[in-house]
């Protein structure tokens, strides 16, 4: 009789589809996965200890490099955490500028995530090229305001570095005009594609209760059917002034996560339009003029979280009254969202592993810090 052996395959740290230096140890029975263990730490740069050695302002450029796709979101979370700890207020105009930047980041990220998901499925950069075109426009906008495309370092305690240059708003309005056509085209290209449907429907299903107990957040949680979005659940900044919906999925598979991301892009555009409308009435300058960047917060701790495009990004800061944080912990969404990966992949084929990993949308800068 033929007997089968278990095969151990290492989807190694150097791999084009693992979204970074990420290793998957899999045990296979034929092509079906029996067990999967993620191994990471290849990009561990000891950011948390660096954070303790730097002052609060010096940490800001390092937060850019956490989730390097969404540097504005990281900056936002860190700035909010320090402002909460030190009690710094932010003027309205700065809040609107921040929201504009973060929502643009969300569009950036979701377009990119969809592109990378299709790369993982073997679509050879088609969708990625379209997504990158819109991403390039947004990166141009970021370069205009902050000086850099990706490592923006734009947020400060009490506001942002500088005000919007005059060419920013017309460019943003043009971009928002083109956005519906882009998203509709994306849906037309992808959402009914038979190959996509075959490869993503009922793959990697994460049931509701399991999603909550695994502490997953972000589009992954919402695709499982739970309408939990930190912008609505515990509104921070000025998100309670905007009307927008929360897309949720029904099954919790890869297809739902994909659709949720597309719909979130539409909702982000809605928020941006409202922000642009309300921006001219906003009072104040782009930064709180009384806020000292050399903050020395009082002794205490604060945990602040935002809805970053990948999930709940939280910063837990402990201050001992000096200019440097005593403990600087980052609650990274990609790190926590990876917890159910073993469970999600069990029983699927090895080709599905990459697709499931793509749907979780991780970035190793955050996972490893």
């Amino acid at each position: 009789m033929l007997s089968t052996d278990e095969l151990q395959i290492n989807i190694g740290p150097q791999h084009p589809s693992t979204h970074g230096v990420f290793r998957l140890l899999t045990r296979l029975e034929g092509e079906t996965i029996i067990e999967l263990t993620p191994v990471f730490g290849y990009l561990h740069r000891n950011h948390e200890q660096l954070g303790e050695a730097n002052s609060y302002l010096q940490n800001m450029p390092f937060t850019d490099r956490l989730d390097y796709f969404n540097s504005m979101a990281n900056n936002h979370a860190y700035a909010l955490a320090v402002e909460k700890l030190a009690g710094i207020e932010v003027p309205e105009r700065a809040e609107y500028i921040r929201v504009i930047m973060v929502e643009l980041t969300r569009i950036l990220n979701h377009a990119g995530a969809i592109g990378f998901l299709f790369n993982d499925m073997g679509a050879w950069q088609t969708q990625l090229a379209f997504s990158m075109r819109e991403r390039e426009k947004i990166l141009d906008l970021f370069e205009m305001v902050s000086g850099a495309r990706m490592m923006c370092n734009y947020f400060r305690f009490g506001g942002v570095v500088r005000d919007l240059p005059p060419e920013f708003l017309p460019a943003l309005q043009d971009l928002l005009e083109a956005m519906p056509a882009f998203i509709d085209e994306l849906e037309r290209l992808l959402s009914e594609n038979e190959i996509l449907l075959a490869r993503t429907q009922n793959i990697g299903i994460l049931p509701k209760e399991l999603a909550i107990s695994y502490s997953v957040t972000g589009p992954m949680l919402r695709a499982s059917g739970i309408p939990y979005d930190i912008r609505k659940a515990e509104p921070y900044s000025i998100y309670d002034r905007f009307d927008f919906d929360i897309p949720i999925g029904s099954v919790g598979d890869v297809y739902d996560r994909f659709l949720v991301r597309i719909e979130e892009m539409r909702q982000s555009r809605r928020i941006l339009l409202q922000a642009l409308e309300q921006l001219p009435d906003a009072t104040g300058s782009h930064i709180n003029p009384k806020a000292r960047q050399n903050v020395r917060p009082p002794v205490g701790d604060a945990y602040t979280r935002i809805e970053s495009p990948k999930g709940e990004l939280g910063f837990y800061l402990v201050s001992d009254g000096s200019t440097k944080p005593y403990r600087y912990k980052i609650r990274a969404p990609s790190f926590i969202n990876l917890t159910p990966l073993g469970d999600l992949c069990r029983g699927h084929k090895i080709a599905d592993v990459v697709v499931i990993l793509g749907s979780i949308d991780i970035v190793l800068g955050e996972v490893d810090r």
């Binding site: 909550i212 695994y214 002794v299 945990y303 837990y316 001992d320 990876l338």
Partner: protein
């Protein structure tokens, strides 16, 4: 916004503390079990709920079952060298929204062991492994407690405050 948030937060905290007092009174930790240093800031002073380290699993289960805090967001370990203890901070949320409920426990630095939440709360798995890897806190009952960032043969716990910063080994050799 932050004002009514902190008010809500305080209300949640008081409500949780009262419930714990009623149902799990042995779990709440008496204050002053660790000394505060003479000079220097007192990082142990807090208004959050402090529980006994060995009861954390019971407290977490209780919070999930009775008070509806079903979402564990964050587990952080803090090394309070001057006070001679590790502090573990847990942040729980309700899915209906609202601010966090912060639970803190303290462990002696010589023997940092406490029960793991992972068997019934799988979301804690990676966070506890991280606390083990970087601080050396042992979570009893964790199904797979091994290093997560550092390589397996690494010795020492890097995020501890008394970990000797070794500098750039490669350039100096």
């Amino acid at each position: 916004m932050s004002d009514d948030n902190s008010e809500l937060s305080a209300r949640q905290r008081d409500e949780a503390r009262a419930a714990l007092q009623r149902d799990l009174p042995f779990a709440l930790s008496p204050s002053g079990s660790f000394p505060s240093p003479e000079g220097g800031p007192d990082l142990l002073a807090t208004s959050d709920i402090v529980v006994e380290a060995q009861q954390i699993a019971a407290v977490a289960r209780y919070l999930r079952a009775s008070l509806n805090y079903i979402y564990l967001s964050n587990i952080t370990a803090v090394d309070l060298l001057a006070h001679g203890c590790f502090e573990l901070v847990y942040h729980f949320y309700r899915l209906s929204g609202g601010p966090a409920l912060t639970i803190k426990t303290r462990l002696p630095r010589e023997k940092p062991e406490l029960p793991s939440l992972t068997p019934f709360w799988p979301g804690a798995a990676f966070q506890e492994r991280e606390a083990y890897d970087l601080f050396g806190i042992v979570f009893k009952g964790h199904p797979d407690l091994r290093r997560i960032y550092m390589w397996d043969e690494f010795e020492g716990f890097p995020m501890r405050k008394d970990f000797v910063r070794q500098g750039d080994k490669y350039l100096s050799e």
